[in-house]
């Protein structure tokens, strides 16, 4: 399993939000590139970059920061936030991202996601963010009636090979992963032949150990944010807790 340090960009800085709430932000790095460099120096094998301004605006805002990060670090970078049309995905990939993470678009226009996946084989990741088990969209500010597992099953059938699953309630809390919803999401991914990356609530190395031993074959990675920024553990320690793979 791969540990993906999260770099969420807002107003040009690296920040963390609590439970996806834009009013409860902690700023950590004045320049997100500093965060990127630090995580790679600590042994990161990949980075997960989110354009928070873009997620809210519905179109990428911080592409230049993304490009600076992709150029400067010697690991693959997956990036999302506000990618709702083909041109946005193309811009993120052109900026050097290895994969584009699509959120809201996946729900409102599954056919678009299907064509994106066909145009960019294995370079489209769909973010299945859930609030109380239901998909949340538009910078997590709106909930829907679709479950994460349903969304994953549908889109895996449309050729999407990777998903990120985030239970919004636990995000930024450091209180541990939301395992119940994760099991359903991971099972849907496995049945669809896709991989699943978990995100949200990781606060200790034990939390990573729980995920590593959860027996979920589709689970291929874990995104960690606040715990790294607060120095609870290093990327290297976290990666070791997830196992060598």
């Amino acid at each position: 399993m791969i540990l993906y340090p999260a770099i969420d960009i807002r107003d040009g800085r690296a920040v963390r939000l609590l439970q996806g709430d834009y009013d409860r932000e902690t700023a950590f790095d004045a320049d997100p590139l500093d965060a990127a460099r630090r995580w790679v120096e600590q042994g990161a094998r990949a980075l997960h970059v989110v354009d928070l301004d873009g997620a809210r605006a519905g179109a990428p805002v911080n592409i230049e920061h993304l490009a600076r990060i992709c150029e400067a670090v010697a690991v693959p970078v997956q990036a999302g936030g506000g990618l709702r049309q083909s041109e946005d995905v193309a811009a993120v990939l052109a900026a050097g991202a290895s994969r584009a993470v699509v959120g809201t678009a996946a729900l409102s226009d599954p056919a678009l996601v299907e064509s994106l996946a066909a145009e960019n084989p294995d370079r489209i990741v769909v973010s299945a963010d859930a609030r109380e088990g239901k998909i949340a969209v538009e910078g997590w500010e709106r909930a829907t009636t679709l479950s994460s597992a349903e969304l994953i099953a549908d889109l895996a059938g449309r050729g999407v090979a990777s998903f990120v699953y985030t239970p919004v309630e636990v995000d930024g809390t450091l209180e541990g992963p939301g395992l119940d919803g994760l099991r359903a999401a991971a099972e849907a991914a496995r049945e669809g032949g896709a991989e699943l990356i978990y995100s949200g609530g990781i606060g200790t190395l034990e939390h990573l150990g729980e995920l590593a031993s959860a027996g979920l074959p589709a689970l291929s990675g874990v995104i960690v944010g606040r715990a790294l920024y607060e120095g609870v553990f290093t990327v290297g320690e976290g990666q070791a807790a997830l196992g060598a793979g």
Binding site: E71, P76, A94, S98
Partner: protein, 208 residues
């Protein structure tokens, strides 16, 4: 300072290769110009995308001639990803196309039934032997791969490393001054930078 020319034939984002070379203390020049490439201590042939299209662009810019001439002069060349594949005789991709023919063998699709292709991700690399290119890099160190095809060197002595994805495939070759890697050293963290640093070291030894 060791100067390395990253051959630009209009395909792919070359900035991450350039940055990685700068990180290991080499001077990197992105160029498609023969004159600029000719004064470099080493060449990198990068690339992503389709084999035939890439060879078409390489031929248009007469980079095939340039690479052949520099190899003849003993200047080290490193092919990365598609650039690695281009070093070989030919590819079966999309009806087939001829390559640079610097290394004997054919490029064809990964035989990975039940596994995902393109193969994307980190894979441990098993070294077949020693080479200056991999000095100080432990056996089974993971590198980052993105590819659907793989070269099949005719002469097993050319193979430097193997990785596993459905089949065991030659993911690195060394026949000095020609080197090639299927993985992306510029995206493979510390181990990738170490490999690029080793390549820069090899380039520094050759008087231009």
């Amino acid at each position: 300072m060791t100067r390395i020319a990253i051959l630009d034939y209009g395909i792919g984002n070359l900035r991450s290769v350039e940055k990685a070379l700068e990180r290991v203390g080499a001077e990197a020049v992105i160029t498609g110009e023969h004159e600029a490439a000719r004064v470099a201590d080493g060449l990198i042939l990068p690339g992503v995308g389709a084999f035939a299209k890439a060879m078409e662009r390489v031929a248009e810019l007469e980079l095939d001639r340039l690479i052949g001439e520099r190899v003849e002069a003993g200047v080290p060349v490193l092919g990365i990803c598609l650039g690695y594949q281009l070093l070989f005789d030919s590819s079966t991709e999309l009806g087939g196309a001829a390559g640079l023919g610097l290394i004997a063998g054919e490029v064809s699709g990964l035989d990975a039934p039940g596994l995902k292709v393109p193969h994307i991700g980190w894979e441990p690399v098993e070294w077949a032997r020693d080479s200056e290119l991999i000095d100080g890099i432990a056996d089974r160190t993971p590198f980052y791969f993105v590819h659907s095809l793989t070269p099949r060197p005719l002469d097993e002595a050319d193979a430097l490393g193997y990785a596993l994805h459905g089949e065991r495939f030659a993911c690195a070759i060394a026949r000095p001054p020609i080197y090639g890697v299927q993985f992306h050293p510029e995206k493979s963290s510390g181990a990738g930078l170490a490999l690029l640093a080793n390549f820069a070291g090899i380039c520094a030894q050759v008087p231009v």
